[in-house]
């Protein structure tokens, strides 16, 4: 799923500083699952913003809604009737949400309340880790299910570099060295030879480097 973090309150407050009636929109998709933009977080943000405003002696009207997904026009359609009643709308979805909203409702101002971070999952409750970089050409099968593109700090295809120490990456003692994991897994499985062959330079055209991407499925497209 997409993993995000909520922006600091000060940043969100700055966005809405001159607005008195806002709508906070949550999303029931990834951001609910990663505990950043579901009903609960919408309530917390709403209350926090109201507290901040009350402290300034100003009032703030906040309405809350959490829709199924902010990345589907049909769900976005649900707020059509009231969306322009607000001075601004804060989206707690990933970066997709406020953009879809902006496209659907060009008159309204949409602010992102979260920083969209990566594709990953929860390794335990409250801890999410990156697993995929969305490079467009999956190679994890060469590395026994461990992706060096997303998980090596340098995206090395022929790692590990000289900074690998005791299983951790040179950038932090808390970041595991994926190449250490790849090597150990290969060794355990007696397939170290796989790593002796040279992996040529990756084709990054399928990644973001190739420009904004689009996926067209002819058999589905109407």
């Amino acid at each position: 799923m997409i993993v995000a973090d909520r922006k600091p309150l000060s940043e969100i407050l700055d966005m809405i500083t001159d607005r008195d009636k806002i709508l906070i929109m949550g999303c029931k998709g990834c951001v609910t699952v990663c505990n950043v933009g579901g009903v609960k977080e919408v309530q917390i943000l709403s209350s926090s913003l109201k507290i901040a405003r009350k402290k300034e002696g100003r009032s703030l009207t906040v309405d809350q809604i959490t829709i199924e997904r902010q990345c589907d026009p049909e769900y976005i359609e649900q707020v059509k009737a009231t969306i322009n009643d607000y001075d601004a709308v804060i989206s707690m979805a990933c970066g997709v949400g406020p953009q879809f909203l902006s496209e659907a409702y060009p008159q309204q101002k949409f602010f992102p309340a979260v920083n969209t971070k990566f594709f990953g999952g929860a390794t335990s409750h409250g801890i999410w880790e990156e697993r995929c970089a969305g490079c467009g050409t999956c190679v994890i099968h060469y590395f026994d299910g461990l992706c060096p593109v997303a998980r090596c700090s340098k995206s090395l295809m022929n790692g590990p570099c000289g900074g690998s120490s005791k299983g951790y990456c040179e950038i932090s003692k808390e970041v595991p060295c994926i190449w250490d994991m790849i090597v150990k897994k290969k060794m355990e499985q007696g397939r170290l030879d796989d790593l002796l062959c040279f992996t040529p330079a990756k084709n990054w055209r399928t990644s973001r480097d190739g420009g904004p991407r689009k996926s067209v499925r002819e058999e589905l497209a109407i």
Binding site: S10, K40, Q43, S47, I51, K54, K55
Partner: protein, 141 residues
Amino acid sequence: MNHDFEPQIIAFCCKYCAYAAADLAGSMRLNYPSNIKIIQVPCTGRVDIIHLLRAIEDGADGVYVAGCMEGDCHFVCGNIKTRKKVEYVKKTLSELGIEPERVEMFNLSSAMGPRFAEIANQMGERIRNLGPSPLNIKQAA
């Protein structure tokens, strides 16, 4: 410090320990400030971040959660989970420029009537020293 200031404080107390301790404090006739109002919850684990924020938003000058002793939670670990929620709310308040000390977590057993009164007095005193919630000052002005 304003001597006329009577803070409003909400205490979320778990049924098995803190609420029972509050009853015991009463049966021991121990005095504490009358503007502490207890809301009973089955376990402090039921206390949600939004409950604490809502209290501040509504105008509470202080809010605290009182649960069982750590390790003795009637529901295993509700108090430990909620201690972290209290920390989150403290952080949120700091971000908003409100004294995080207005929110606190306490642990006590059902047998600790005097401790309940002590906590209530301590929290009352702390909030009195902090003065009214910034939310209330602006409103009054």
